[in-house]
Amino acid sequence: MTNTTNLNLWVIPLLPLAGAAINGLLGRRFKNAMVSFVALFFTALSFGWAVWAVWTAWTGGPDRLPYIESHGNWIWTSTFSAPFGFYLDQLSMVMVLVVTGVGFLIHIYSVGYMAHEGGYYRFFAYLNLFMFFMLTLVLANNYLLLFVGWEGVGLASYLLIGFFFLKDSAADAGKKAFIVNRIGDFGFLIGMFLLIQHFGTLNFGDPHLFGDNGVFTQVSKLPSDIGWGWLTIAALCLMFGATGKSAQIPLYVWLPDAMEGPTPVSALIHAATMVTAGIYMIARSSAIFSRAPHALEIVAFIGCLTAIFAATMGMAQTDIKRVLAYSTVSQLGYMFMACGVAAYSAGIFHLMTHAFFKALLFLAAGSVIHALGGEQDMRRMGGLRKLIPWTFWTMTIATLAIAGAPGLAGFFSKDEILARDFAGPFHGHLLWAVAVITAGLTSFYMFRLWFMTFFGERRPDADLGNTHAAPATHAASPAGNGHDRDHRHGVHESPWVMIAPLVVLAIGSIVSGWVGIPQILAGHDKIDQFLQPAIQTPADVASRLEPPPSDVSSTPVHPPVPVEAEAESAGVEWTLMATSVAVAGVGFFFAWLLYYKRRELPDRITAKIHGIYLTVLHKYYIDEAYGLLIVKPLLALSTIVFWRGVDQGVIDGAVNGAGEAAKEIGGGLRRMQSGNIRSYAAWVAAGGAAVIAFLLWHSLVGVGK
């Protein structure tokens, strides 16, 4: 620890915990204003402290990073120790600012959105609790503490998805999210065990410390020829954990259902912060992943598949929040893909811009839902442009940003990923092609949402019909949430406390991309340079492992990615950029054509390709397939083997059997107590005779000896 200033990073997560404790323990007696004050005060303080810490650390000299502080040991055995330690480098700087900043804005918004809901104090206590765990996650200096945050955000997510716990679908969605996440956590745990086994530590490591033996330091010292080894397995296990938290194939199924939670929760946890924890973890583990090229390849493949798969599912959804949920899954796929081609900084860049525009999309959608008194089905919306202008304009900015309109945040981060895909080592052009198609689909479904919600005529009582009823429409039921449906005809703009965060986020959605303007647009790609010290790309690894020039026989473990060389060819990059903008334009055009110009067309098209449409509408029957292939057999196995067989058969059988046996033997022995004195006497005599016979036999044998 070379920094002279003590940053007291531990304060950042503990402040929201204090808020959660106060609101959670005492909030029942507080007035709503008091609850909001406590929640906002501690979150704002945490945000302020984070800004101060980042500023101090950065101005204190970037070369002194990472800043590490330790507050004693948590687990301490002879061979392994895990400290309560915090770690601030460029990567956690970005994360901590996004989490506290966006988190604070969403807290403000929630004051308006949740004003009429029951359990107001409970909501803010959970939200603050989430902030605590998320900040622990991003600031931890070892995998174990990171895992504590990881599990904690899962808990907070569970509590908040099931916030309207009287509604069965919400309670079920909470359970689903928790269980699916647990499956991923299993992989994460195995990955950590592998790291402990081989490195004996889970600390990230401190490059400034002499004799540092953190995981990353040890990884970088490994010989170059480890190849397809345990490191790849460990990386894949970590990746599996990330697929659970970041909703990637095969564990993405929980995220769309998580939309049962209140909308601010969807914005904060299931779009901006928690679901990006997996991306953060992979970027944090870049030293490991860069040494395991096969694992990276699989990460890229999964991200690519998830991106396009989720985008197609998003096209057919009619629930406004579900469209955004699939959009989130798809965008997370982009980030995964970026990590997979070792463009970690591009992934984190997209994470940051996505946090702004996706939080904005969700909050604006929440504003729409609020205005309509709980209506979530887009087919009952329409024509809202004039009625809720602030929401409309901020949502427009967010839509443009996610669709990749030039100049906005999403354009720069997505283009960065596309360019790096194209230049990437693993089937780069194929990845790029899929990513571009996904960009087109993104543009289509986002403008579809935009047109359906804000344009056309008002249709609050639209007959949804039966064939089109999405399986998810029950989610729109306002039964459990306090938005009063009766006044839905009186559409009203949301209060300022909800509008203000929208405006701030809209500004963020425009400017947050400007830190990553590529060279060919006269920018400096600052974010990439900024994150450079915190991550290790395969190129870094290769350059470090490169043998001396005289040794011609050996080759580097992996050819360095020719990023710079590719980027030099500005023509290629211009072409890529133009292509993605054009594709986004095509997406916009089709959305305009189908959902604005000729509204009868979608029905005719869906009628024509009914089978395909139904498949997409039912999300490719993935939930059903999981239910049939995994849940049902597991339930059957548990019921027949573990419950009826092991529990009832073996365990209950042993206990009951012992009791039964005692009863049976007792029943037999009972008959000896006949009440006949002479039979008792006979037993006594027989016993005496037996004793005498034994003694005789004994003495005879003794004599015989």
Binding site: R670, S674, G675, N676, I677, R678, A681, A685
Partner: protein, 111 residues
């Protein structure tokens, strides 16, 4: 001089008669008498052994006469007398309530 074994055989016969009487008789008074017979059979073996031991000890130049065998017999007699008193009292009590001396009828405690 009658050898020790004769006394012991007599004692064993008396004891066995007592056991058989205890097991085979139904009249509770007879059973009681069988118990006394067993006790006295044991007493007989006690005094026989004591006498035998005394003779051999005298021969072996010691002038101390161990009396434990005889003393044990007195103990047994005392206990037998006490037992007879209590036992007869019980028998009278049983007879007053059950009006029988047949032990097979006195089986309230079974099952």
């Amino acid at each position: 001089m009658v050898p020790l074994s004769w006394y012991l055989i007599l004692s064993a016969v008396l004891f066995s008669l007592g056991v058989l009487g205890f097991l085979l008789k139904r009249n509770i008074i007879t059973i009681f008498m069988s118990i006394e017979l067993m006790l006295n059979a044991v007493n007989l073996s006690f005094v026989s052994f004591a006498n035998y031991w005394n003779q051999n000890a005298a021969r072996a130049m010691t002038n101390v006469l161990p009396l434990s065998g005889q003393v044990f017999v007195f103990f047994v007699m005392v206990v037998a007398a006490a037992e007879a008193a209590v036992g007869l009292a019980i028998i009278i009590a049983v007879f007053r309530t059950r009006e029988t001396l047949n032990v097979d009828r006195v089986n309230l405690l079974k099952l």
